[in-house]
């Protein structure tokens, strides 16, 4: 009985420690603290500072965009997106393997871990990665700073012919 109690307490402690997340620096409508941690971490690995497009994922406010994005969708989709975040966050247990969560792994280990998802021979695992990258990319590319850095423009003659000018939208 005592042994059983001890195991139960240890398990509870493990769960509490493992699933506790700090309060984010700002409020989000749809993302919970755990989601924010994962999105920040993935965004840092996928869109780090510097490189060909200098804007980082943090500067592009990927997390803020994803929060708004979830608001445009039905609760069932929000649930699926959160499930995907939780999977990425906790699956190091299976694929590294380590007791650490994805967001707690050192940067290099995070990269190796995501590369494992990207190149997996298991189709559903690749699909999860593709969905994650698609979501992060949509958020990144929606940033006007990123658009400018990439060089996206509307031809002048189209701006002139537009029913509603872009500057007014």
């Amino acid at each position: 009985m005592a042994l059983f109690l001890l195991i139960a307490i240890l398990l509870l402690l493990f769960i509490v420690l493992r699933f506790r997340y700090p309060r984010p620096a700002r409020d989000y409508r749809h993302l919970r603290p755990a989601d924010v941690c994962v999105v920040h971490a993935v965004s840092d690995v996928m869109f780090p500072d510097g490189g060909a497009v200098a804007v980082s994922g943090r500067t592009a406010d990927i997390t803020g965009y994803i929060d708004r994005y979830l608001g445009w969708h039905a609760p069932s989709l929000r649930f699926l997106v959160r499930l995907m975040f939780a999977l990425i966050e906790h699956a190091p247990l299976l694929f590294v393997p380590t007791l650490k969560r994805f967001s707690d792994l050192p940067a290099e280990a995070q990269e190796r871990y995501l590369a494992g998802w990207e190149h997996s021979r298991f189709y559903p695992r690749r699909m999860v990665f593709q969905s994650l990258r698609a979501l992060m990319s949509m958020a990144y590319l929606a940033s006007p700073d990123v658009e400018r850095a990439i060089g996206v423009e509307r031809p002048e003659r189209c701006e002139a012919a537009a029913i509603v000018k872009r500057s007014a939208t």
């Binding site: 060909a52 969708h73 039905a74 189709y123 990258r133 949509m138 929606a142 990439i150 537009a162 509603v164």
Partner: protein
């Protein structure tokens, strides 16, 4: 700015309670097929009501954010996929004008060899080029269909043209339903200049001027029938995001004409318990799965300049694929780029130097099925299986695309295919594609052309509607959307869908 284009159209804000209307013919769905059918019926002097689940979308509602457009304008937030291996994303617009509001305005006539195939396999001997050409002519004239002018091609389209010329294969400027296109490449998020002649600015306002009544935000949830004939429909009023308002609209009609789209129509029929003794409704779904390659050139291409999809090659239609140029908001296209971190950013940095061209496939062996989900959801449950026997067609389509890119002077290709290197260089040529041991789930496909879920045919055991597009087992209920095509039209389906609707609506009016 006063915008009188939509005067007379009932919108969400106009509903104050339940309503009951009656008419000669009620058309469900305002996409290309529904709009043309409704216009044709009104033109023949019938009293017509057009019901559309989506809202009116005006230029001030447009956003260049591709993900937001998907979420706002498409069913299931634009995240619909056909289940299978691979999962194939697909989308349907929920807006006045249906698919024409977000599509690239490509209008191509189906070649005769396809109609021969429809006749040989499904006994459809009542449509061919000779019977449809007058309808193609009429629709094209109404919508100003013409080749994309040289001054709005932009480099992504010109490179495609030059590559086809260099290889000595057919190519032509894309025929499109536009008037005065400036080449901004924003067709998907909504044409900012109203150059694109989508249904919401062409057929529908004209039909309203002739007396048609249009109710937007009216989602039909049931076809009224007694098991032998249809007598009208019931709709719920939904807000622009699709949430029910609590109000209802009932329409009594002599004819019910379904044009809700290839996925929505079978669901509506199944939910309405329409007789289907041979279980044909939703069966045999066909698609044009497509795959795009990104080619990187030494000089800037600026793919965001020039008509969205301005050039095509019909060279390989008989081999089962069509090649064309492609553009969509970066947020949608770039999601298929490989890698992450600095590598991914490097590819984003090369977007200015890139062109996206795609092949889409008319696959002989692959097909799917549409089923209604249990409960109150009207979202379809769609399965689609890419058959291994079709892989050689897909492979050839990709190789021919790669060949085009090299002929155009591309330095690198990003195929986005599992098992093919992330970047294929000029030196590697076609080898990585030729040597790839492709399986269906290795290829990233998407399908925006769907058909054959409610096939027409002479035999009630193998089809859903007869030569007049009337259900074999329910009188006064017709289908005119792309679901009635017995098989692939080989090319982009909108124009053939409209020509068929034009013909069928005329016949329905004559028989009333």
């Amino acid at each position: 700015m006063t915008d009188t284009l939509y005067d007379g159209i009932i919108e969400y804000k106009d509903y104050t309670g339940n309503r009951r209307e009656s008419c000669d013919a009620v058309v469900i769905g305002s996409g290309p097929t529904g709009a043309v059918a409704a216009w044709q019926l009104v033109d023949r002097g019938l009293d017509v009501i057009l019901l559309e689940a989506g809202p009116v979308r005006r230029p001030q509602d447009f956003t260049l954010d591709g993900a937001k457009t998907l979420a706002e304008v498409c069913y299931e937030g634009g995240l619909r996929a056909m289940r299978g291996k691979p999962m194939v994303p697909t989308m349907q617009a929920r807006v006045l004008g249906g698919g024409s509001h977000i599509n690239s305005a490509i209008c191509v006539r189906t070649p005769q060899f396809c109609f021969d195939d429809w006749r040989e396999r499904y006994g459809v001997d009542w449509v061919d080029r000779a019977t449809l050409d007058p309808h193609y002519d009429r629709v094209e004239a109404f919508l100003g269909v013409g080749p994309t002018p040289a001054d709005v091609l932009g480099r992504k389209n010109e490179l495609f043209r030059d590559a086809c010329n260099a290889l000595g294969i057919h190519s032509e400027p894309m025929p499109r339903n536009v008037r005065g296109c400036c080449g901004c490449a924003e067709c998907f998020t909504g044409c900012p200049t109203r150059a694109k002649q989508s249904m919401d600015i062409s057929y529908i306002p004209d039909a309203v001027r002739k007396g048609m009544r249009v109710f937007t935000s009216a989602q039909v949830v049931a076809i009224d029938h007694d098991g032998r004939q249809a007598s009208g429909v019931r709709a719920i009023i939904v807000d622009p995001s699709g949430r029910p308002s609590g109000h209802e609209l009932r329409v009594d009609a002599k004819k019910v004409i379904l044009a809700a789209g290839c996925l929505a129509t079978p669901v509506l029929l199944q939910k309405s318990n329409v007789p289907d003794p041979h279980k044909q409704i939703g069966k045999g779904l066909q698609a044009h799965p497509g795959c795009a390659l990104m080619g990187i050139f030494p000089d800037p291409v600026d793919p965001w300049f020039g008509a969205t999809q301005g050039y095509q090659s019909l060279e390989y239609l008989r081999d089962g694929f069509k090649m064309e140029t492609l553009w969509a908001p970066p947020a949608i296209l770039a999601v298929r780029l490989p890698g992450f971190g600095k590598r991914l950013k490097e590819y984003y940095g090369k977007l200015r130097y890139s062109a996206f061209w795609d092949s889409f496939f008319a696959l002989k062996h692959s097909q799917g099925r549409v089923r209604a989900r249990p409960g109150r959801s009207f979202n379809p449950d769609v399965t689609y299986r890419v058959d291994r026997r079709d892989i050689p067609t897909i492979k050839t389509g990709l190789i021919k695309l790669a060949e085009l890119f090299w002929a155009a002077g591309a330095e690198e290709l990003l195929p986005g295919i599992y098992g093919v290197p992330e970047v294929v260089t000029r030196d590697q040529g076609l080898r990585p594609f030729e040597q790839a041991d492709l399986k269906p789930e290795h290829i990233v496909l998407a399908a925006t052309h769907l058909f054959s879920s409610t096939r027409m045919g002479p035999d009630p055991k193998t089809s859903v509607v007869d030569p007049y597009a009337e259900l074999h087992h329910l009188k006064n209920c017709h289908i005119v959307d792309t679901g009635i095509m017995p098989r692939s039209p080989a090319v982009n389906p909108m124009l053939t869908g409209m020509a068929l609707a034009d013909r069928l609506a005329g016949q329905i009016a004559e028989r009333m």
